[in-house]
Amino acid sequence: MSRFRVSGGGVLRAYTWLIIAWLALPVLVMILFGFNDTPGRYNQSWQGFTFKWYGRLFELNDLTKALWVSLGVAVVTMLVAGALGTAIGYALGRYRFRGSGTVNLVLFATMSSPELVMGASLLTLFVSTGVGLGVVTIAIAHIMFSISFVAVVVRARVLTLDRSVEEAAADLGANPWTTFWKITFPIILPAVFSGMMLAFALSIDDFVVTNFTAGTTTTFPLWIWGATRIGLPPQVNVMGTLIFAVGVLIAVVSSVRARPRRAA
């Protein structure tokens, strides 16, 4: 790999670090202002360091409720989209069948459609059918756009599956059902899990589609959006920091576990 290094590797390295710093800047500001000793919602200027907001995290009932709604919807999305998406991904990866092209096209369309259009069209559906808006419609929307991401991840894994293991199981008398659950599924499980994590992350952070399908229900991103007019309380910074920390922890743990084991 060293043969085609362009001279100036040092410049590029510095540049990369600069970009990393630029990307991290607002996150650092967010974490910092979670420690701001400010009297209330006016969290704009630095007034001193304090841990008190970490103790007063759940003081704002509607913010806490919004966080719970976000978490609940994300878990449901992860499970349902995980199941539906895995099924589609497996079918696309394992079999060749007529209509696979259409399915691939629809998956591509869901992933590349502007969120705005997806959210707006869902609103028109719910308005035309008169079903109202709320937690259920939010979940429906989240599951919808997560399915394709899960399917794509699983499909990629299934495509590279080594069939010989399955064939060996069949030779030993296992029926396809047993083969799938005892052999194939454990092998693709990491990919399924990846897809589910992706669905969870997409759901908990979603703003645009949720904005159209929520009505008066509030999720964590929606609450933040609504509160910016009056002023973001420090609790938001603290929650953001904690969610960030948990996400980082999960990522670090899962990639440490994914590292190939050294030969004994």
């Binding site: 085609f4 990369t16 991290a24 607002p26 996150v27 589609i88 869901t110 705005l116 396809p176 952070d205």
Partner: protein, 287 residues
């Protein structure tokens, strides 16, 4: 399993998810199209009349915003390529064993909700905030100077929020380049610059194209960046559509604009995919 059952297996598998996508992705597009051709008002209801005049009125009223959105999206995408390429290049060729770590560091900020990140930027860039305030006090900037509310702020926000979507595909493409090809070029007396220009760059292009696909569409239809960091002179079509639905309850116009936006972007994506030849993109993906 009998042969018949095996043939049906994939269909059973895709059925639940497929139905969900049909009901909640395809059907809504139809209801949106239908609503755009309806007339009435939010109190007494809407009726389908095939009234396509709504589209004409929508284009006349909001063509500025539509064009502006496409321009902002295009500028942001170009800037994204410029900003992301060197980073992807360095990580692919210089980071060695720490590649994953650097990619992780790059993606780290995106564990924070993007609404929160964008609002953090607004806090950093406020007129009298801790960034601009001291500079103004020191006399380096005029009192009326502001970053927020300018197109630069909005495009900056777009570049910031979509950077990973450009870095990752370019990185994947660069990472797959077979070192022997570059060696061969050098053996044939190519200078490093020529090797880059004639060998590495073309091989990286599919990654760039994939990145463009993943950033241009969301960037052009974005409304959060403009709403938080912009002003009335930077209004993008996404904000107009959102306002027509969620402020004015003007469903026909809103749906017409939404449909128009989707059509414009879809046509763009189609033309783009045809122009560059889909095999290139697939080759990178399949390897």
């Amino acid at each position: 399993m009998s042969r018949g059952k095996r043939l049906l297996a994939p269909y059973f598998l895709i059925l639940p998810g497929g139905v969900w996508l049909l009901l909640f992705f395809i059907v809504p597009m139809i209801t949106m199209l239908s609503l755009s051709l309806q007339q009435g008002d939010v109190v007494s209801g809407y009726v389908f009349t095939g009234h396509w005049q709504t589209y004409v009125d929508a284009i006349v009223d909001y063509k500025t915003q539509l064009i502006r959105s496409l321009i902002y999206g295009a500028i942001a995408t170009i800037l994204l390529i410029v900003v992301a390429f060197p980073v992807a290049y360095w990580i692919a060729f210089y980071a060695g064993r720490r590649k994953a770590t650097f990619l992780f560091l790059l993606l780290l900020p995106f564990f924070v909700s993007f609404v929160l990140r964008t609002i953090s930027w607004r806090q950093i860039l406020t007129d009298e905030g801790f960034l601009l305030g001291p500079l103004k006090d020191a006399g380096l900037l005029s009192a009326g100077f502001h970053i927020l509310g300018t197109p630069a702020a909005v495009i900056g926000g777009l570049v910031y929020n979509f950077l990973p979507f450009m870095v990752l595909p370019v990185y994947v493409a660069l990472e797959r380049i077979d070192p022997r090809v570059v060696e061969a070029a050098r053996d044939l007396y190519a200078t490093p610059l020529t090797a880059f220009r004639k060998v590495i760059l073309p091989l990286a292009l599919p990654g760039v194209f994939a990145g463009v696909l993943m950033t241009f569409v969301p960037a052009s239809s974005d409304y959060v960046n403009s709403a938080v960091l912009g002003s009335s002179s930077t209004t993008m079509i996404g904000q107009v559509i959102q306002a027509q639905y969620l402020t004015s309850s003007n469903y026909p116009t809103a749906s017409a604009l939404s449909f128009l936006l989707m059509a414009v972007l879809l046509i763009g994506v189609f033309a783009y995919a045809r122009a560059l030849g889909t095999e290139d993109v697939m080759k990178v993906a399949a390897r």
